[in-house]
């Protein structure tokens, strides 16, 4: 089955606001931004909480556990890939890919775990594979 080994992934554009997220990704860690005022975690990470608008937000390290909220296998691509939203154990749902698996056996609510895949000249991308 096709996986990201054959797929060239573009490098994400890193900004000062998200540098720590990508530095952590380079070390194999997924960070989530959490608000110390309202206690909510969010994704993608922002310095000002999108729920309560407090600027008291901090990085926490995600457990790397999650479940597939939804997915779609992009068949009409040079190398088919599985687009997905994964619900992190910490709460937020994130855009990602499901990799290293049989795409035909994917299901909503399936447990998945964190892996990283290299990009073309940038930090690696957090992705998920069946747990």
């Amino acid at each position: 089955m096709a996986d990201t080994k054959e797929r060239k992934l573009p490098a994400p554009a890193v900004s000062a606001e998200t540098q720590a997220y990508w530095d952590a990704a380079a070390k194999g860690k997924l960070l989530v931004r959490k608000c110390t005022s309202c206690g909510e975690a969010h994704h993608y990470p922002r310095t000002i909480c999108p729920f309560c608008f407090s600027d008291k937000t901090e990085w926490i390290e995600a457990s790397g556990k999650g479940t597939i909220y939804s997915y779609s296998v992009m068949r009409r691509a040079p190398v088919p890939y599985a687009m997905a939203y994964v619900t992190l154990a910490e709460g937020p749902r994130m855009v990602t890919n499901i990799v290293d698996c049989d795409f035909d056996k994917l299901k909503c609510e399936q447990p998945v775990k964190l892996v990283f895949k290299p990009t073309d000249g940038g930090p690696p991308l957090p992705m998920f594979t069946p747990a």
Partner: protein, 390 residues
């Protein structure tokens, strides 16, 4: 202040082309503007408000204002993707109600087919300064089709919606398109043909996807005192609503669209309910888009949209809720990958009694047009208008 009854759709025009190899983008904008003004019985010099979106060449409205020789005292280039032009109808009415203009022109044009654009299947970066979301999405390969497909996948998971139910939406559109001489696809298709067409991105097949076409269209919105002097049937705007739905900081819910809020606002302003509506123009980038919007607008309970659209219920003449009687984006036209404007056009044709006789809804005095622009699965702008024949 309400816009109810403050503005009328005085003129409409849809470019007949579906492939514009030898026509420039600006030229299409001007051609459709001319067509809509001719339809209204107005001239360029009557236009004092101009509305366009991101498909117009240049910065906001300025290049097209210059190209067409307009002298607007009110402009608005709000862009919510393909739904922009439905939104512009509401904004034009607001401007008219506030005395900022009396004749508002809205134009749309695009040439993705002539330019060989792989609209739905290739991830696109907008270039320039990345949007804040882009680093967390673009590298993963989001395309138009796979993000809508994820909505369909979740809808199927939560509510048991089937590929066959989605296929009925395309089947209904194809029944209508056979009577539209300008439609790109005029062959009537069956449920079997839809579900057996190639899978593009699970669970959406090729025939669940709209067409890629060139062309455009225009709308003239006029103040009541202007509309009263014109010879065309009078189509009055009685309600409008808009909403931007997002990933909500990670509280993503793919089972509903912003139509839940734009529709509620439009119905409240109009003082009517879904069961009063005789005809609906519903944005049909994909079959799933139609199903979710119909639920969110209140034509079916959430999760029951599959039953509503099945068995030909959307087909004019036999079904209970005739939709997109021009063949819609699924079969006729999706000019510039932006289908909102053509939704308003067919609603106006229905209210005027000028739809094709084979698909004209009897006594059509109340219609709704709704658009979804951007990406249903990422972030989108939902816009709704309710129109009444006077």
């Amino acid at each position: 202040m309400s816009i109810k009854g403050k503005a009328y759709i005085a003129g409409i025009y849809e470019h007949p082309t579906r492939l514009a190899k030898d026509i420039s983008l600006a030229q299409i904008h001007a051609q459709v503007a001319k067509g809509a003004l001719d339809d209204a019985g107005l001239s360029k010099d009557d236009v004092d408000g101009y509305f366009c979106a991101g498909d117009a060449p240049g910065l906001g409205p300025m290049s097209m204002v210059e190209y067409m020789g307009l002298k607007p005292r009110h402009v608005d280039s709000t862009d919510t993707g393909g739904s922009s032009y439905v939104l512009h109808v509401g904004h034009a009415a607001e401007a008219i109600a506030a005395g900022k203009c009396k004749v508002a022109l809205i134009t749309l044009a695009g040439r993705p087919r002539a330019e060989g654009m792989a609209t739905g299947t290739v991830p696109r970066s907008r270039g320039g300064t990345p949007t804040p979301d882009e680093p967390f999405e673009f590298p993963y390969g989001p395309t138009v089709v796979n993000m809508y497909a994820m909505c369909a996948m979740r809808h199927m998971h939560e509510f048991g919606t089937t590929a066959e139910q989605l296929a009925w939406i395309k089947v209904a559109a194809s029944h209508h398109a056979q009577y539209n001489e300008h439609a790109l696809l005029r062959d009537v298709v069956t449920v079997e043909e839809v579900v057996n067409s190639p899978m593009i991105s699970d669970p959406l097949h090729r025939l669940d996807c709209c067409v890629i076409t060139d062309g455009g269209g225009a709308i003239v919105v006029a103040a009541p005192e202007i509309a009263a002097k014109l010879k065309r049937p009078k189509v009055k705007l009685i309600g409008a609503g808009e909403f931007v739905k997002t990933q909500m900081g990670g509280k993503v819910d793919l089972t509903y669209s912003g139509a839940r809020f734009s529709g509620a606002a439009a119905f409240a302003e109009a003082g009517v309910k879904p069961s009063d509506i005789k005809y609906v123009s519903i944005y049909d980038s994909f079959t799933i888009t139609v199903l979710m919007q119909l639920e969110d607008l209140g034509f079916a309970e959430k999760g029951k949209g599959g039953k509503l659209v099945a068995d030909g219920n959307l087909i004019a003449g036999t079904g209970k809720l005739p939709f997109n009687t021009d063949g819609g984006g699924l079969c006729s036209n999706h000019p510039g990958n932006r289908g909102g404007l053509t939704k308003v056009l067919e609603a106006v044709r229905q209210l005027r009694g000028e739809a094709h006789p084979k698909v004209q809804v009897k006594n059509c005095d109340l219609a709704l047009a709704h658009g979804t622009g951007g990406s249903l699965g990422l972030r989108h702008g939902s816009t709704t208008v309710i129109l009444e024949r006077e």
